[in-house]
């Protein structure tokens, strides 16, 4: 834990410092000041914390005023992560209850839908594109690829849930020259995500896959993974992080262990079940943060940053970490870039 000795800094200074001020009783106090670069606009934003926060963070010693470097870095990174998260909202719009979004989802969890239906995710691992996840609303060549994947599933798994039940559903497959992630065994595996699904589907799947009831809060989407070689179907259950998943002391049974993450928004988790009720040893954790913070996290933990350099300004809407639930060893880091089919409606305008 290193400390920084602070001196008075001028308005807009890039250095961390203090600014003497007076309270309403004309009593002097020092404000903690710092600047942080916006990950959205690249502008430097200058901050002066209030009296109470400054007093709790600053340490006055005989030879001056100090702050722990970690604390000021955390303040900066939290703000940057939130700014990046806010920008990601550009890809979503308000949906209409009962039209775009089933009423039970609208009333309980989500009132937004993707801005465009014709989009896909380019999924990267170690700077290489390994998978493409198509939205059901894609057109043209993308629709052809999507329909081909659906046909492959239908041939092997007749009478399945309607894959086109919602135009924002997603279908994807690893690219031929890339190894599939554990616990999946076959390269010949297709992913389907059902969004805004009917409640009855979840009830049936939880029963079919013998998932234990931890009273988790499930997200408004789930995944089905179709292994075309073995004919097995896996169930990917997506779980929000809350007290039941994060508080081991209060909820040891439902607690979801997780590796240390970078400063990020609220993460969510995925568990994968086989049809015999076996839970995979690998968990997924998904979160968003800035490319800079994620790169540093990867460097510090000797992990592969997933996004190629020329794609770092893309719409990286989430990172996914595959890890062993017992050892917390990280097995894969994925980065998801959402791409709009129409080049005139890209989600980020490049600076």
């Amino acid at each position: 834990m290193s400390e920084i000795k602070l001196k008075k800094e001028e308005l807009g200074s890039l250095a961390t410092g203090i600014n003497p001020d007076l309270d309403e009783l004309k009593k002097p106090f020092n404000r903690l000041t710092f600047s942080v670069k916006s990950p959205v606009t690249n502008e430097n934003i200058y901050w002066e914390l209030n009296k109470q926060d400054s007093e709790s963070l600053l340490t006055e010693k005989e030879d001056g005023i100090y702050i722990e470097e970690d604390k000021v870095n955390y303040l900066k990174e939290s703000w940057q992560s939130q700014e990046y998260e806010d920008r990601l909202s550009l890809a979503w719009v308000a949906g209409e209850r009962g039209v775009d979004i089933p009423e039970h989802w609208y009333d309980t969890q989500v009132q937004i839908i993707p801005r465009y239906t014709a989009m896909w995710d380019d999924v990267y691992v170690n700077k290489e594109k390994v998978k493409i996840d198509y939205s059901v609303g894609c057109t043209g060549d993308s629709l052809d690829k999507l329909n081909n994947l659906i046909s492959l599933i239908s041939d092997k798994f007749p009478n399945e849930y309607n894959i086109k039940s919602h135009e924002n559903n997603i279908v994807g497959m690893y690219l031929p020259d890339h190894k599939i992630r554990p616990p999946y065994k076959s390269q010949n595996t297709i992913t389907v995500y059902h969004l805004y699904y009917p409640e009855s589907w979840m009830t049936k799947l939880l029963k079919d896959y013998q998932c234990p009831d931890f009273d988790y809060k499930y997200c408004f989407w789930f995944g089905l993974k179709y292994d075309l070689d073995s004919g097995k179907r896996y169930f990917k259950l997506v779980i929000r992080d809350d007290d039941k998943t994060s508080n081991y002391q209060e909820h040891p049974e439902s607690f979801i262990p997780r590796p240390q993450l970078p400063v990020c928004n609220e993460p969510y988790f995925a568990k994968i079940y086989s049809q015999d009720g076996t839970e995979a040893d690998e968990y997924d954790v998904f979160f968003s943060t800035t490319p800079e913070l994620m790169k540093r996290y990867c460097e510090e933990n000797e992990l592969d940053f997933p996004i190629p350099e020329d794609k770092e300004n893309g719409y990286i809407w989430t990172y996914g970490i595959v890890y062993d639930k017992n050892t917390l060893d990280i097995k894969q880091i994925k980065g998801y870039i959402k791409v709009s089919e129409d080049p005139d409606t890209q989600l980020f305008i490049e600076d």
């Binding site: 003497p20 004309k26 404000r31 200058y46 209030n50 806010d86 890809a91 009132q111």
Partner: protein
């Protein structure tokens, strides 16, 4: 110009701030100089009490119209609804947190935006509370913002009073860049019923709109 808030200060600076001529004779016990810090004749005074002292400036009071809007931000895995109540002029705002959300904030409410005695005569473009909407229970913040960068000191303001509730500048977190400045305070979570009173704001005449009520707004120095 007010007496500086730190460093070396002189009785001549007090005299000038009180309206006297620089370099002319004066004393700390002169009524106009004592008046800068509200002291009576012959009482004990410390030089520390003069930091930031300024001649009395009348309060800036007005009746403001406030509006209310619910905004939504979200990505694949998290959606947040925000309740915003107060005044906001979207024009010229380049940096405001929720402005770029799924349905971002627009313009609502109205106030008199400039006074030469406050905020260095900068235009006020926001006096509004923002918090996650009902049911979440998370605290929000009240923010006053200007459309240009001005320094964080008593020449901007010392207190803001909204509908009778006082917010001290010392309790505000300040941020700025070349295009804006803002001061923000933590406020309570919004009411579970969207139109109810939400301190410091009164209840609203409807759930959403550019004009859903009026209240008093005062800045002090």
């Amino acid at each position: 110009m007010p007496v500086p808030g730190s460093g070396t200060i002189s009785i001549n600076q007090f005299h000038v701030e009180a309206g006297g001529t620089s370099g002319t004779q004066c004393s700390l016990n002169d009524s106009d100089i004592r008046g800068l810090i509200g002291k009576g004749s012959g009482v004990q005074m410390s030089f520390n009490e003069w930091y930031g002292a300024s001649a009395s400036i009348p309060d800036w009071s007005q009746t403001m119209t406030f509006g209310q809007i619910v905004t939504v931000t979200g990505t694949q895995y998290a959606q947040i609804q925000y309740l915003n109540r107060g005044y906001r002029n979207a024009q010229g705002i380049t940096y405001d947190g929720q402005g770029n959300g799924t349905n971002g904030e627009t313009t609502y409410g109205s106030i008199t935006t400039q006074n030469s005695n406050f905020f260095s005569n900068a235009v006020i473009n926001r006096v509004r509370s923002n918090a996650q909407a009902s049911g979440v229970g998370a605290a929000g913040f009240l923010l006053v913002g200007t459309s240009s960068q001005i320094a964080n000191n008593d020449t901007a303001f010392t207190q803001m009073v909204v509908n009778g509730s006082t917010y001290n500048r010392s309790a505000a977190t300040y941020s700025s860049n070349v295009n804006q400045a803002s001061w923000s305070w933590s406020v309570s979570a919004p009411p579970s019923t969207i139109g109810n009173a939400w301190s410091p704001w009164p209840s609203t005449s409807s759930n959403a709109g550019t004009n859903v009520g009026t209240c008093n707004l005062t800045f002090k120095r």
